[in-house]
Amino acid sequence: MFKKILVANRGEIAVRVLRACKELGIPTVTVYSEADRNALHVRYGDEAYCIGEPPSTESYLKIEKIVDVAKKCGAEAVHPGYGFLAENTLFAKRCEKEGITFIGPSSRAIKLLGDKTVARKTMSNAGISIVPGTEKGLTDEKDAMRIGLKLGFPLMIKAAGGGGGKGMRIVKKKEELKSAIKTAMAEAGSAFGDPRIYFERYLINPRHIEFQILADSYGNVVHLCERECSIQRRHQKMIEESPSCIMTPELRKRMGEIACKVVLTCNYTNAGTVEFLVDKDKNFYFLEMNTRLQVEHPVTELVTGVDIVKEQIHISAGEKLTLKQKDVSIRGAAIECRISAEDPYNNFMPSSGKIMQLVEPSGPGVRVESGIFEGFEVPILYDPLIAKLLTWGRDRNEAIARMKRALSEYRIYGIKTTIPFHLHVMDNDSFISGKYDTGFVEKLSFERGGRTQDEIAAIAAVIYATKQQKQVTIQKRGKGYNLWKMAGRVGFKGQWHT
């Protein structure tokens, strides 16, 4: 086993990985930007190194600096978390070159699966259904026009060089095609340094279902069943759950086998996720494979009991998988709500600021993965994901009831968060019945509302005024006690007019 592991990330995922290392008894090293000096991960690790200025391009994305720290402190392995350098071929390659174990797949596998058209072609050649479309990257506008017109509409344009919604366009009719191709190429070029695009048939409101897999270096592959991730906003997942409401044992078996086949086709090792789109008739198509730990991995941990991060570390240390496919089963149901520093009432605008008060839910069936604490200044520079709230229940209804209970216990004052959005979804009939697809968020009418406790608010306000006045009188001071700017859930429809 490794003598020391460097965690090349920040926030909740860095803490998640550090906890796994601690449970394995492995000393840890963290890196941080100047904005994160008092961050949780810095305080959690055994060693900590500052690697640069706040912008991630000057710190968390600096391969050179991170490799330097790893060599300096004698870290034998690096865990990249998700985001930042997690799917960076150069970083993985550099680690391989320096003799530092990259806790993830080989740089070769990252590269193969990172190029979406290569991945599609590979899968198609292996007999795996992919979303119909082109299998090679297009750089010529005229070629693209010709092929696009042939495929028909609606049509999806995607960047070959990377994901995250960049270079992505939905084209509904042929008149839009030309300009969409042009702008998509330009966007892809500037985002990934690679203007290649490809086409996919646009499936109308499919479900997004992914399979978690684990693969060791000895050809053993298991899947840990599915996660349903259809609650998305602009291709960003917001709520995930396992099992999926549409899953049957037979479909799970078929999709799981295909997922494992994808892995074997690429000689992929470590943890990974095979994403599928599933249409109304339960036809499923390979979408892409994520070559890293996913944000939503704890959903799978809760229902299967497998600690995916620890498995990653064992696999990277050259151990054989002890888990067999027959040992994997789902117990109960789990849901994850991503808690982001975003204002759900204002188009999910990022919100930064100081956490003035924090109360995290706990009790039966609740798991919190958090990167914040009271007093922390949430920087605007990084991903707005600040925490993940998960619940487990004996069945889906219990998981939902617990999620509502846990969300109602959660208090984050000082910044705006997505908690009110999640509370709203947990009360939504389509969500409760499990009859939803990737069009869910778009169709959702989410506006301010909820309980109206105006009278209590009025009483509370007056009591504060009385107490403040009393204090002012006693202290003979003019300022009163310290008040702070606060934002959070808003329960009253009319009050924003003021």
Binding site: Q357, A458, V462
Partner: protein, 167 residues
């Protein structure tokens, strides 16, 4: 002590009748728009975080700037004591045209902080009126030169009396 609380488009009159504090817990008899209620509060771990019980219903309350959170839900509130509120009403809508300060309620003139002929600016405190054991600073409604001060320190005035006129 009476307060006017504005939340969105709603307005509440809250009158605190009595306060009693015993081992950290403050008890209030109050009326909300005339409806009598019993409330108690105690600090949880700082002065802005309270446990509030109103007629045996329990609420968790946190105060921010111009906002209170009830069980995690935010309510944007404006609190004025009734005196200030009456003052605002006396002033009416055309505050920028106003050239007089009138007494919002009966009271005792504690201090006159300007004199005839002096230049004052809008919002500057010019007269301190004591009413219901609270001192209230009355402010100049606009920039101007003081024309007349028909009262003196130590005088008792009635609600509506003119206290100061600007040129």
């Amino acid at each position: 002590m009476a307060y006017i609380v504005t939340i969105g488009e709603k307005t509440f009159k809250v009158d605190i009748k009595d306060i009693n504090t015993k081992s950290g817990e403050s008890s209030f008899h109050l009326t909300l728009d005339g409806k009598p209620l019993e409330a108690t509060v105690v600090e949880v771990n700082n002065p802005s975080h309270l446990s509030l019980i109103v007629n045996n219903r329990s609420y968790e309350v946190v105060k921010g700037e111009g906002v209170v959170a009830i069980d995690g839900e935010l309510y944007y509130v404006k609190v004025e004591d009734e005196i200030a509120s009456r003052f605002a009403k006396t002033r009416g809508g055309g505050a920028e045209e106003k050239t007089e300060i009138t007494a919002p309620m009966p009271g005792f003139v504690v201090a006159v902080e300007t004199k005839v002929g002096e230049r004052v600016v809008a919002g500057e405190g010019v007269i301190i009126l004591e009413a219901m054991k609270m001192q209230n600073e009355l402010k100049a409604p606009r920039d101007g030169i003081v024309k007349k001060i028909p009262i003196k320190e130590g005088m008792t005035v009635n609600g509506g009396d003119t206290l100061l006129t600007l040129e």
